[in-house]
Symmetry: C2
Subunit: 157 residues, 2 copies
């Protein structure tokens, strides 16, 4: 039983036992699957989820966009400039508050939605999860993300 205890202590630092690595690896593999479909549209994965927010909102401040995507300005600023250069969005300061950078979907950006519409179906096929199972997994991950962000554990600062 001493030996068993030894193995258990070691187990917490084994890669295969890490939830973090399971999430991290899965994320990268999923995004890799999107690439060929997104290459056809000329956008990256991060640009794709950014456009997704714009297809819902049409106009949104960079700050709120960052909150939705959980990305900060260091990531968003260059990404939004690229989307502007590609003609999918416009970037202009708010009249009421010059600090706010308002992002607006262009007609070309709206048109891109039509091209993107088939992607989720193609990916769903890859994933091979039942719809209800996929939804359950997604909601579990959302809850986990929320818990981690709120961090109600005093142990870790």
């Amino acid at each position: 039983m001493t030996e068993k205890k030894y193995r258990d202590d070691d187990a917490v630092l084994k890669l295969e036992n890490q939830l973090c690595f399971a999430v991290y690896a899965c994320s990268r593999e999923i995004i890799k699957r999107y690439r060929p479909h997104l290459d056809a549209l000329g956008i990256t994965y991060t640009q794709y989820i950014t456009m997704m927010v714009l297809w819902e909102e049409t106009t949104i401040s960079a700050k709120v966009l960052g909150e939705r995507l959980l990305l900060d300005s260091g990531t968003l600023t260059p990404l939004l400039k690229k989307l502007e250069k590609q003609g999918y969005i416009t970037r202009q300061r708010s009249d009421e508050d010059e600090r706010l950078l308002m992002i607006t979907l262009t007609d070309a950006g709206q048109a891109l939605k039509t091209s993107a519409a088939e992607i989720p179906y193609k990916i769903a096929c890859d994933v091979g999860l039942e719809l209800t199972e996929g939804i359950a997994l997604r909601e579990k991950l959302k809850q986990l993300t929320k818990d981690i962000r709120e961090g109600n554990c005093e142990y870790s600062k």
Copy 2:
């Protein structure tokens, strides 16, 4: 019902409905939680999971290491050079096959494991999942990663 159909079509491109974004966002938030603990050790998250494999194997080829971590040489090569510079590993060509770069844990690398041993417990506290629930989520993600990599769907190339 026409209106309902319209809403359903739109739903597939909504950010909140994407499993990919749930995984992607969760991954980044988890890694963000690791940062303060890993900063104390002077390593990054990717270096941490790399060391995790070395703590199990002691010696491993760069190729097999990449297969374990699902990372390619473009990511691993500079990362391993940094770990070598920090004294945690050695990099040397195999005698039998000069193409193979053998990575070996040093004493300092082994010692680092002791410092890292508490991290999983601290993170587990943040995550706030029941053990069995965390295991279930982890295994679900592993299966999903496997399915995506194998990609038994002819629809997406």
